[in-house]
């Protein structure tokens, strides 16, 4: 029998406290909402989210389906990982393909080829179609200044929009999930986690992650100061030189705007060491979509993005 030493209670262990908080949030949503869904891209935050959901309801299965808004600009390793995880845990996966929206004219491809900003419409349409009333996301407040203002239970209007001035105060651990028909609540169980917490917890729990988070050889070319990989998003252009480098990814998103970093960190421990020594934020170095303006994230959240 595994036992917990009396001294090792939640207050004395940062990761245990964060885990207990996330599990509490999952169970609150399961208790109060009719149709929750977990946003799952196969990236590290959503994989961690799923790991915590499994722990929250053990030994029963996770009582929510997963939703992936697929930009079509994927890394093969991540899609393989996504499908394997879904299979392994017997989960139900709903996929909303941005390509379908482009094909039938509801969306138009952007001139710069980026599809991350195009995810909002398929996300909102799929939420409405499935009548999802609570949508879990892996967003963390340490990622970005606008996210730092986000509540754990974030009420969105019928258009999925975030209105920062009208947020409900969030008191103690009493989450208010009441909403009117058509409104939805975005829920962020990892709100209080930092990138370092995420990796330390991955190490502690031995959570499997997609291989591209670890150092590997890859052909990449440079654009706007980022190392991009070849893919359906267009590139390399004739003037862009392809080189084979040892790289890894710090975030995994749409391939058109997610850059690799040069790294030899091939294990979880090496990644932890690299992240703690880095002088750049996770998104600052490798996410073009956050660079579009001073308030790019806030503006997208107001439209209905995460």
């Amino acid at each position: 029998m595994t036992t917990l030493e009396p001294a090792a209670d939640a207050a004395q262990d940062n990761l245990a406290a964060l885990e207990s908080e996330a599990i509490h949030i999952f169970r609150e949503v399961a208790g109060e909402f009719d149709r929750p869904v977990i946003l799952f891209s196969g990236g590290k935050d959503s994989t961690l989210l799923l790991h915590l959901a499994i722990k929250a309801f053990w030994p029963a299965p996770v009582p929510f389906p997963l939703l992936h808004v697929d930009t079509g600009h994927n890394f093969d390793e991540v899609i393989d990982f996504r499908d394997r995880v879904v299979e392994q845990h017997g989960l139900r996966l709903v996929v909303a393909k941005v390509q379908d929206w482009i094909d039938d004219g509801r969306l138009e491809e952007r001139a710069d080829g980026m599809r991350n900003p195009l995810q909002t419409t398929p996300l909102l349409d799929t939420i409405a179609e499935n009548k999802f009333d609570a949508v879990f996301g892996g967003g963390r407040r340490d990622e970005e200044r606008a996210r730092a203002k986000e509540r754990i239970f974030s009420l969105r209007n019928a258009f999925g929009q975030w209105e920062p001035r009208r947020q409900r105060p969030e008191l103690w651990n009493l989450y208010n999930g009441r909403h009117r028909p058509g409104e939805q609540v975005r829920v962020f169980p990892l709100s209080n986690w930092t990138e370092a917490d995420v990796w330390n917890y991955i190490a502690r729990e031995k959570v499997e992650m997609p291989s591209i988070y670890y150092a590997h050889r890859r052909e990449v070319y440079q654009r706007d100061g980022m190392w991009l990989a070849e893919g359906p998003w267009g590139g390399p252009r004739p003037d862009e030189v392809v080189r084979e480098l040892t790289v890894r990814y710090r975030t995994v998103g749409d391939g058109s705007c997610t850059g690799a970093i040069e790294s030899t960190a091939a294990t979880v421990d090496e990644v932890i060491a690299e992240v703690s020594a880095s002088r750049l934020t996770e998104r600052g170095a490798t996410r073009a979509d956050d660079r579009m303006s001073e308030a790019a994230m806030e503006d997208r959240k107001r439209e209905g993005y995460f």
Binding site: G31, I54, W58, A60, P164, P169, R178, E298
Partner: protein, 420 residues
């Protein structure tokens, strides 16, 4: 493994809260190069010659436009000794509700005053709110000490005046620390200042790293609001029935006698389960699943408590409300009360008193409670709930008042006669 300290800032507008938070992030190397670049760029755009550290924390468009903090933001920083979650709350009088929000989960609050102005009404008000919410530790950051020539006498007068006020609110001397700081220059924030040789105490950061975190006294009675019933009905677990929740207070061990409220059914804890295996003991803040010895009918909203130290089961509560909504409270209103995992209908009864923020005294029988008012009220509930006095057990003495029409959170509620 480092421990976690949850803290909140408070203080009036323009006394440098955002700059202090920016300074803490900067000095603990929690600001990375690209964030600092962005702030430097924005500062240059505004015509400033040095980076404005407050831009690190004021993240919304309208905040940057107005140069003020509008909404609570949560910040994260860590040292080798401890991790910190900081609720950065706005200082404007009209945003007192955000101080309540930040303070509800804080184990420590840093109150800022401007050394040139000393303790002002807003300081007293914020301290009163922090005391009401039971924040166990206070730090008074006497900021802009450089602007009073690092004068010891100025600091001592402010520190003494505040210590006296804190004592009148129930704080013992040991739980209040005053530190002379300059957030702008960095004196006594992370680095000890050589300009205040007369100050022998710790820097702000040293204190934050070492202050004991005791969220739950060991003698608290066991409280467990049932969140969710786990019934897998799978081949591996055909008969499993577990009650999932987060321990609100006290500790639990297998064999403990418990009572399920409000029904009053007694049973015994058979096991404390988690996905990582059963536990021999679990304490406050831990999310677990309880298995009971008897097959009883328990659902979400019930409260499992120590059989020998039970909460009060009642359908009428007297409580302090911090009114957070622009819609005023009037007696006779129908509201919802969310307590633990149970939401019940309620009727607002008598309004006994309102705390007057200007005079810091109590006004009897007010007609209404308005935004940011604090008042003592009786609520009549449609169903019984098990409650504790907030002062004894904050997690089972706290509740939300919710508008049944649009779901808005109207008030933070604290059970008992407690009144600042």
């Amino acid at each position: 493994m480092s421990s976690l300290l949850r803290l909140a800032t408070a203080g009036s507008v323009d006394d440098g809260k955002s700059t202090l938070v920016g300074r803490l992030l900067y000095d603990t190397k929690s600001v990375l190069a690209d964030q600092l670049d962005a702030v430097t760029r924005a500062s240059v755009d505004k015509g400033l010659s040095t980076p404005d550290l407050s831009l690190l924390v004021d993240g919304l468009r309208s905040e940057r436009e107005q140069g003020i903090t509008i909404d609570v933001a949560y910040r994260y920083f860590a040292t080798p000794k401890r991790s910190f979650v900081l609720a950065d709350t706005p200082g404007h009088v009209q945003y007192t509700r955000n101080t309540v929000t930040g303070a509800s989960t804080a184990q420590l609050a840093v109150l800022l005053v401007d050394a040139r102005k000393g303790v002002i009404e807003q300081t007293r008000r914020h301290a009163a709110v922090l005391a009401l919410l039971g924040v166990p530790n206070l730090v008074l950051a006497v900021n802009k000490i450089d602007l009073v020539g690092y004068d010891e006498a100025t600091f001592t007068v402010i520190a003494e005046e505040f210590a006296e006020h804190a004592a009148s609110l129930g704080y013992e001397r040991g739980s209040v620390l005053a530190v002379p700081v300059s957030a702008l220059v960095g004196d006594n924030v992370a680095e000890k200042s050589d300009k205040t040789p007369w100050y022998s105490g710790p820097t702000l950061l040293e204190h934050l790293e070492t202050v004991p975190v005791a969220p739950d006294p060991h003698d608290s009675a066991f409280r467990f609001p049932v969140q969710y019933v786990i019934r897998p009905r799978t081949a591996d677990h055909p008969d499993y029935r577990g009650y999932a929740g987060q321990i609100a207070a006290g500790t639990v061990r297998p064999g403990d006698e418990i009572v399920v409220l409000p029904q009053g059914i007694r049973s015994r804890v058979e096991a404390i389960d988690t996905a990582d295996g059963p536990l021999a003991e679990a304490g406050a803040g831990t999310s677990v699943t309880l298995l009971l010895a008897d097959d009883v009918d328990i659902s979400r909203g019930d409260l499992i408590a120590a059989a020998d130290r039970q909460p009060t089961v009642t359908d009428e509560i007297t409580a302090t409300l911090c009114w957070l909504s622009a819609k005023a409270l009037k007696p006779g209103a129908r509201v919802l009360v969310k307590h633990g995992t149970r939401t019940v209908q309620a009727l607002v009864g008598e309004l006994h008193a309102r705390f007057d923020e200007q005079t810091l005294s109590s006004v009897d029988d007010p007609a209404t409670l308005e935004l940011n008012d604090i008042g003592r009220v009786t609520l009549r509930l449609a169903e019984e709930i098990g409650v504790d006095d907030y002062g004894v057990s904050p997690r089972t003495g706290a509740f939300l008042v919710i508008d049944p029409k649009d779901g808005d959170t109207l008030a933070a509620g604290l059970v008992g006669e407690r009144f600042a």
